[in-house]
């Protein structure tokens, strides 16, 4: 009995020890990337990671920064807050990173923001759009298009150019991004003289939403505003057409995915969304980014674009602040100051500059699903 007892205790200690040993070497500038690589929103985390990886490889090919190669360290947080906090602590204390390309969801960003801020390590999110993620946290940034920028400008554009006045709003109740965005959409519609004729709610992961769509049948509206992710958006489009409602969808960057077309096919045409990334815009830097991503058989979307920009934002700030040692707190402070004062940075996800809260202010790309004539689709930039 004694042996088994000691064995168990030894196993526990061994695990604890192996967890804590750091492995940072002096001659590299380490950048951490964390996000969901497994679980239901893994696709966003993986695409954010692929954009960052591309940027790091490019910078290293051009000789790295201040004479040092960049090293990218990434861990999976499954989008779970406890794991996200563990990963952030590991990146800061074990891997001693210069900066972190943070979580893609607002919830996880709320959890890790304080830790990164207190330890004086910059964390930038390429996906969190909810209000208040960066409030009074000098070290917390994000290069996403804010919902509070995107939604009002999109609704103003739609009421003016397509004179859509009446909207039905569908919200995904167990998705914080969707709940927040629906609120902003509703305010924008009312302030632009439009009206909300019906409100329905579904939840992420639903496969059966026939009941909610049937409830909309006796209302008349020009478009259905849906603030959730692409999976549910495609389902809504299909169910609308199945129940004979021929109306487009309006949404945020959650709709920007090829899956909407793959599932809903022609039903997706005419739907409009705003996003921080417009693949079909004829801007050279965007075209180049897309071809590089296609070469690596990776998808070029908003998350990979903003991940790519995030790394370059770090690189700019590190170059200007002459950073060569991640472990020194002053260098990290100087790098933060440089990053915060970035103005008119021409990124793949649009021209941006940081406000005093650390949010990137950008002009939204309003895009529409159109038939590309070859049996496929494309996102026509309409603003």
């Amino acid at each position: 009995m004694k042996v088994k007892f000691l064995l168990a205790v030894f196993a526990v200690c061994a695990m604890l020890a192996s967890v804590s040993c750091g492995k940072s070497k002096g001659d590299e500038l380490v950048i951490g990337v964390q996000g969901p690589e497994t679980g239901s929103i893994a696709i966003y985390g993986l695409s954010d990671l692929s954009g960052a990886q591309l940027a790091v490889d490019e910078i290293n090919d051009k000789g790295g920064i201040n004479g040092k190669k960049l090293k990218l360290v990434h861990y999976d947080s499954r989008g779970d807050k406890t794991e996200a906090v563990n990963v952030t602590q590991r990146l800061i204390n074990n891997d001693k990173v210069c900066a972190i390309l943070g979580e893609v969801t607002s919830g996880a960003m709320f959890a890790i923001g304080k830790i990164a801020n207190d330890s004086g390590t910059v964390v930038l999110s390429a996906g969190a759009t909810a209000e208040g993620v960066t409030d009074n946290m000098p070290f917390v940034f994000r290069d996403t298009l804010l919902d509070s920028d995107g939604a009002p400008q999109t609704i103003k554009f739609l009421t003016a150019n397509k004179n859509w006045k009446n909207f039905a709003i569908i919200t995904s109740v167990n998705n914080d991004y969707s709940v927040g965005l629906s609120k902003i959409f509703k305010e924008s519609i009312l302030s632009n003289g439009g009206s909300v004729v019906a409100e329905q709610s579904i939840s992420d992961g639903d496969t059966n939403i026939s009941a909610q769509i049937t409830a909309l049948k006796n209302k008349t509206f020009d478009a259905v505003v849906f603030s959730g992710y692409y999976q549910e958006a495609a389902l809504i489009l299909l169910e609308l057409r199945k129940q004979g409602i021929k109306v487009p969808l309006v949404g945020g960057d959650g709709l920007q995915s090829a899956e909407v077309f793959n599932v809903a096919k022609t039903a997706s045409f005419g739907s409009v969304f705003f996003a921080g990334f417009a693949p079909n815009a004829d801007v050279p830097v965007i075209k180049e980014f897309i071809s590089k991503m296609n070469k690596q058989k990776k998808t070029a979307d908003m998350f990979s674009a903003q991940g790519y920009d995030g790394i370059y934002l770090f690189a700019e700030a590190m170059k200007k602040s002459g950073m060569n040692d991640c472990t020194s707190k002053e260098q990290r402070d100087k790098m933060r100051a440089e990053l915060a004062s970035t103005k008119d940075f021409q990124g793949v996800s649009g021209k941006m500059s940081f406000d005093e809260q650390g949010n990137a202010r950008k002009v939204p790309f309003v895009q529409e699903f159109v038939d590309d004539g070859k049996g496929g689709y494309s996102w026509k930039l309409i603003n």
Binding site: M15, V19, D76, G107, A111, N174, V179
Partner: protein, 276 residues
């Protein structure tokens, strides 16, 4: 030395202590009294939301809000006990699972808890020291409870309810007390969790969290307090150690659970006469 005790390991130690407190509560309910509960995370969420709302909306100080959170979660456990403790075995397990999901949906839809948006900027009061001390206090309280007449009565109920009633034990009252104390521990754990992670949303407390807690209990060995500590530490540390495995991490976690249950059914410290 700082390589060992930097804030990364301190963060893991804190989470271990919080889980130990919660699983000690589950051990009293499912391990010692034999009432299998699959909704323990719901009481953790009640504790988390109580301490948050008390501190943010009613600005009650932390040292008062924490015990209150435990009390209210314990009360909820007591009230849940009334209708469902007549049930036995799998029926009880499934109704506690149902209760857990209902609590999650209620938090998801109530405006005071901001629904799916969750509540952010909760003051960060939980320090590793507090959680270690509370875990030890919990350990002592549970040890005293299980090694006295109250604990003996609960163990008797687990062995054979009819014989226990025949020997003059009011099993309904004892079960409800065990439930109340167990869920109280979960409430305190939930409150510490909220003040550690500083942001809570209903999604954090779904039935997967209850399964996680039950796995920690059974892995360590139901009914043994040392088992609780070992089970929690191992299942909290395994995901960290498996970090290198990137996408295979969760498959290996599932396989580890499977293998341990098959090769060590009674858990690491189960059925060992040292009734620690």
């Amino acid at each position: 030395m700082d390589a060992i005790f930097n804030s990364y390991t301190l963060q893991i130690i804190t989470m271990c202590c919080i889980n130990i407190i919660i699983v000690q509560g589950l051990n009293l309910i499912s391990g010692i009294t034999g009432q299998l509960s699959l909704g323990h995370a719901a009481f953790m969420s009640i504790g988390a939301y109580t301490v948050t709302l008390l501190m943010l909306d009613l600005n009650v100080p932390f040292w008062l809000a924490l015990p209150l959170a435990g009390l209210i979660a314990g009360l909820a456990g007591f009230m849940l006990g009334v209708p469902i403790l007549r049930l036995r075995g799998d029926y009880l397990a499934i109704s506690t699972l149902g209760f857990g999901e209902i609590v999650r949906v209620l938090f998801l839809n109530s405006t005071t808890t901001h629904g799916a948006l969750g509540i952010s900027s909760i003051p960060h009061y939980t320090t590793p020291l507090i959680s270690v001390i509370l875990a030890i206090v919990g350990f002592i309280v549970m040890f005293n409870l299980t090694n006295c007449r109250f604990g003996l009565a609960l163990r008797g109920i687990r062995e054979d309810e009819i014989a226990a009633e025949m020997m003059g034990v009011n099993i309904a009252k004892y079960k409800m007390l065990a439930f109340a104390i167990g869920t109280g521990f979960a409430g305190i754990g939930g409150a510490l969790y909220a003040c550690q992670i500083t942001f809570i949303s209903p999604g954090d407390f779904a039935f997967t969290r209850s399964f996680e807690q039950l796995s920690m209990l059974v892995l360590g060995g139901t009914g043994s307090l040392l088992g609780v500590a070992a089970g929690v530490i191992i299942l909290t540390v395994i995901p960290e150690v498996l970090r290198f495995a990137t996408e295979y991490r969760m498959v290996m976690y599932g396989l580890a659970l499977l293998i341990i249950m098959v090769f060590r059914p009674q858990g690491l410290f189960g059925n060992i006469r040292v009734n620690l």
